[in-house]
């Protein structure tokens, strides 16, 4: 499929139907978030394959930031398919509360539970009313979405579900969408903290159920990654909490506008800051154009918005040949439509490295942006590999500056 034929939401063709190893599923997204929430219990409910890896994922948190949640794996047996699991689940949830008194119990179901259509939601809703702690269901259906980002979004929504309105706490804000360490040091957060603002919670990387329940106090939220947008919108709708989006990493116009809005909201003067950074970025862009104009590339970064990223590279004079779509997809068609006016590369779902290699043989690009292929394969074909900084926790002008520096250093 070429870019001109593609619309957001279209099925992106696989280059090869035989996929190896396949993408992470939403269950992974849920695991990656819930393990960091303090004083909660998580029950993963599914077949052996799913619950084994879910629990293992919980165990693999870094030693520096050990998991805060209690995790239980409830594995389906053959007889459960016939007789159901409602009663057993109810008992398990009640026992877990009696033994450990968590502040919340999250029941996470995988594909197989959704396929057998048992009314788990009925069980969790009933217990949520009856029990002194929150009981919430998170459904993960890999066959409905290929992106684990959906799991993160669902979890963030589940976390803020049931939050009650509270009086506003002045000069406080929450970070949304932070899946890695370092959000407290990202550009907009740093500016706010330096000006006397306080981080009320950092979701989901570092928060407790207590932080979540008091999130309605904050004046506004800072969204550092696309996975936090839906929650930010929900908080706006339910508690009139303004949000500032820093999910787009390369769009300087959007970043500038967001900073201007943030300045208006907080009264922090940011005009000089914006001007200085824009001047620096423009200077670096000019430098990059001299080096990169006319160079062809494959784009395979799986965690950034692909069309925004490719559009940014075309602004530097580069020519896209293939765009491999991974986990993230742009949320608006602005960048896609702008790109369509200037180029028509192939759009392909990420597949085996063998498939990517066949495209390398066909196009012979100068650059390969992303890390989904063995570096030796690229070196042997004289293709320069590079990637943008892999921790998109950075945002504002910080990320784009680093990205251009990386391109200049290639």
């Amino acid at each position: 499929m070429n870019l001109q034929e593609y619309h957001l939401g279209s099925d992106i063709p696989q280059l090869c139907g035989a996929i190896s190893p396949g993408k992470h599923c939403p269950l992974f997204g849920v695991c990656s978030v819930l393990r960091y929430v303090d004083h909660v219990s998580v029950i993963y409910l599914g077949t052996n394959d799913c619950v084994y890896f879910a629990q293992k994922q919980y165990l693999t948190t870094s030693i520096d930031h050990p998991s805060q949640a209690r995790v239980i794996a409830a594995q389906l047996t053959d007889s459960d398919l016939v007789f159901g699991i409602g009663k057993q689940l109810k008992k398990l949830i009640q026992e877990e509360y009696e033994e450990n008194h968590p502040t919340a119990i999250y029941v996470v179901t995988s594909c197989s539970i959704e396929v057998i259509s048992e009314d788990i939601e009925g069980v969790t809703k009933l217990l949520n009313k009856q029990m002194p702690c929150k009981v919430k269901l998170i459904k993960t259906e890999n066959f409905k979405t290929l992106s684990y980002y959906r799991g993160i979004e669902l979890t963030l929504e589940a976390l803020v579900d049931g939050v009650q309105p509270l009086p506003k706490k002045e000069k406080s804000f929450a970070i949304l969408g932070a899946r890695f360490a370092g959000a407290e040091a990202c550009e907009p957060v740093k500016i706010l903290v330096e000006n006397g603002y306080m981080i009320q919670s950092n979701m989901p990387f570092q928060c407790t159920e207590q932080d979540i329940q008091t999130i309605s106090q904050v004046e506004f939220t800072i969204v550092v990654d696309g996975t936090g947008i839906e929650t930010a919108q929900r908080l706006k709708k339910e508690f009139d909490i303004d949000y500032f989006l820093f999910d787009c990493k390369f769009d300087t116009e959007k970043i500038t506008k967001t900073y201007q809005d943030l300045s208006a909201k907080t009264g922090i003067p940011l005009e000089n800051f914006i001007k200085e950074h824009m001047d620096e970025i423009e200077k670096k862009k000019t430098e990059a154009k001299e080096k990169l104009t006319g160079k062809t590339f494959f784009y395979s970064n799986i965690v950034l918005y692909p069309f925004e990223g490719v559009k940014f590279m075309t602004e530097l004079g580069m020519v896209p040949q293939c765009i491999f779509i991974g986990t993230a997809i742009d949320r608006e068609d602005r960048y896609l439509e702008q790109l369509k006016k200037t180029c028509n590369p192939e759009v392909i779902a990420n597949a085996n490295s063998a498939s990517v290699i066949s495209k390398l043989e066909e196009y012979h690009p100068d650059y390969f942006m992303g890390g989904t292929i063995n570096a030796q394969e690229l070196i042997s074909r004289n293709v320069i590999q590079s990637g943008f900084p892999v921790m998109p926790i950075q945002c504002g002008f910080q990320y784009i500056t680093q990205a251009i520096n990386k391109l200049l250093g290639m």
Binding site: P21, G22, H24, F53, A73, N142, L146, A354
Partner: protein, 406 residues
């Protein structure tokens, strides 16, 4: 519903994929959500180029269509040219009742693979060892009888049943190969990453099997090609000697005067003695061994017969039922926890997760997978074989001496 508070067992598909990955001329395609294969890819480490997923979408589940699987099989066939193709069900397609045998039959005429096989009707509670057995039996019934003859290569053998992802697995494989090469001049026919080729199944003088689950495959090879097999998982001096003796007799090689063998035997004996001298004086020394059947059986024998330890409790962590009566059957997680609380062994030999979980009861020694934070990069530090005795003794002494019992 089985409830786990520490870690569930590895699934049957984990074992199945692990076993298939040993045969690069076979392609396996799972018909299911991409996520499961992404996770399962850890079972195959660097041998992942013959196991695939087709992915599955909501519409495939609603309409019961298998087009996505058929396309995956066609693409894999075109790209890899496998001799055999195996279609594997996922939990989702098990529930919706996809008839993989019918798909296999339909695909047969469209593919260059000699045979398209289906693997479905898989139990939800089966574990990794069941996956190995399922695959071994499928090989024995469907593939081995069809393999052509090849001229026998004297002094050559295949290693069957070794997993790439076992803790110290790569190092153990390397050590077994090295011993048989250095002591007896035998040639291992496995590929660099442990793969087994069909022509070599026919050509080998014997097969060396390191896990019982692969025995049905070895038996089928014996029947088809007259190739004898030796089952061995040699930990410790005595078992290494028995193992080498069997092979020496089978191949007619007198290796005992080989200076390399003699030198290493003495070193191994010293290490084993060191371990014995270190463990025996510990007043309340007792050990719980928890792992896969063959390894646990062999380790128990080593600790009992060589280190003269009496208080050993060996527990099978897999569904596989062997003939060793000294090994306790697989326990549920709750049973294992209460056993540990009751016995309070001095040392627990298990996987990293259990060793970590029970650290307040016992000192832990990680010898099995899964590992979480431990890496297994060193391919020259085996636990099996002659050099393995030295490593094993050293690491076990360190585990006992250097980590305080909490």
């Amino acid at each position: 519903m089985k409830v786990y508070r520490i870690l569930p067992d590895k699934s049957i598909r984990y074992g199945l994929i692990e076993a298939v990955s040993q045969f690069p001329e076979i392609c396996a395609i799972e018909f299911g959500p991409e996520g499961t294969m992404h996770y399962l890819s850890e079972a195959v480490a660097d041998r992942s180029d013959n196991v695939f997923t087709s992915g599955i979408k909501e519409k495939d589940i609603i309409w019961g269509t298998t087009k996505i699987l058929e396309q995956a099989a066609i693409d894999a066939d075109r790209r890899k040219h496998p001799s055999y193709m195996i279609l594997v069900s996922s939990c989702v397609t098990e529930i919706i009742g996809t008839d993989l045998s019918a798909v296999a039959k339909k695909l047969q005429s469209q593919l260059t693979a000699k045979k398209v096989l289906a693997m479905d009707h898989i139990s939800f509670t089966a574990d990794e060892s069941d996956g190995w057995i399922l695959f071994s039996k499928m090989m024995a019934d469907q593939i081995i009888p069809e393999l052509p003859d090849y001229e026998k290569r004297k002094g050559s053998y295949n290693l069957l049943g070794i997993s790439q992802t076992d803790f110290h697995g790569k190092a153990d494989r390397r050590e077994l190969k090295r011993m048989l090469s250095d002591y007896m001049g035998l040639e291992c026919l496995n590929t660099e990453n442990g793969g087994v080729l069909f022509k070599n199944l026919a050509a080998a003088q014997f097969n060396l099997v390191v896990r019982q689950e692969a025995v049905p495959l070895a038996q089928a090879l014996e029947q088809r090609f007259g190739t004898p097999y030796i089952l061995a998982c040699p930990y410790g001096v005595q078992q290494c000697q028995t193992f080498l003796k069997k092979i020496g007799v089978l191949c007619g090689v007198d290796y005992e005067k080989n200076p390399i063998y003699q030198e290493e035997l003495q070193m191994a004996k010293r290490a084993s003695m060191y371990l014995k001298n270190h463990l025996r004086p510990i007043e309340d020394f007792s050990v719980v061994l928890h792992g896969t059947y063959d390894k646990v059986s062999s380790l128990q024998s080593f600790l009992k017969n060589e280190c003269m330890l009496n208080r050993i409790c060996a527990v099978n962590s897999s569904n596989f039922k062997g003939e060793d009566n000294n090994i306790e059957r697989k326990k549920s997680e709750a049973e294992f926890i209460s056993m540990m609380k009751e016995k309070r062994p001095y040392l627990l030999i298990s996987h990293e997760v259990y060793c970590d979980y029970f650290r307040e009861i016992s000192k832990g020694f990680t010898m099995f997978t899964p590992t979480i934070h431990r890496t297994d990069l060193n391919e020259f530090a085996p636990y099996m074989g002659m050099r393995g005795i030295i490593n094993l003794s050293q690491d076990m002494v360190n585990a006992v001496s250097c980590v305080p019992r909490m």
